[in-house]
Symmetry: C2
Subunit: 141 residues, 2 copies
């Protein structure tokens, strides 16, 4: 089966309204591309390409802005694993990642597949905002 998500009719428009972003043509189109086909990871360039491929006219600048707005309202998560390139993850639930160093690609690890049985105290005056586990993998020699 294709992409039945938690919310069966996950509607881009409703989602934008929910988070208080004006549903402009560009934002709607990008939201569709991002959220209508299951969890995945994208870079700005990739999303921009996907938009072009879908005959959606959006400037790269808008793609960047939109990705950050989506991140700011919490419907997207930014993952940094490579110098000079940001990945955005449509899965905002707690989970971790494989980073395949050969084909330069992120793969989700379900939260339950990782168990952190001991964590350090955060530094004085600080509190933990997120724990990220990245497992770097490469082709088996």
């Amino acid at each position: 089966m294709a992409s039945v998500q938690e919310r069966p009719f996950a509607d881009a428009l409703a989602r934008l309204k929910e988070v208080g972003l004006r549903p402009t043509r560009q934002r709607l189109a990008l939201a569709k591309l991002l959220f209508d086909k299951g969890d995945h990871h994208t870079t700005a360039e990739q999303l921009h390409a996907a938009a072009r491929a879908a005959d959606v006219k959006v400037s790269l600048a808008t793609v960047y802005n939109t990705l950050h707005q989506f991140k700011d309202v919490g419907i997207l998560r930014e993952v940094v694993v490579e110098p000079g390139r940001s990945y955005f993850d449509t899965n905002t639930r707690p989970h971790h990642h494989f980073f395949h160093e050969d084909d330069v690609r992120l793969i989700d690890i379900p939260d339950e597949a990782v168990e952190l049985s001991r964590l350090p105290e955060p530094p004085e005056g600080a509190e933990i905002s997120r724990v990220e586990v990245v497992i770097r993998v490469g082709a088996r020699r």
Copy 2:
């Protein structure tokens, strides 16, 4: 006490010879700045500034090249936590990091302070090269 490390008289020259890098004036100076004062994290800019401050003339390009050479021979580790900026860690032993999002700073977590009691199988045909845990922290509200 100051910085008595594993190898008491950790000598920059010896270290470079060990890894097969010609001990040039620049590399020696950078190695001293990096390894003579205990484990820490630096960016290229920071190291360049430290060099200037110590009256060592090195170009930024050489700092970048040197950091990567040091990384390639395994005496430095690259840590990516922020888009658009690489940190280099003089601690190459297994360990993890706090990333303080307010003052944009890495803090070492000793390996024993984190216990990963369950790890997923790597994807088909791949093998794990490293497991990185980054605990993002912010000021307590």
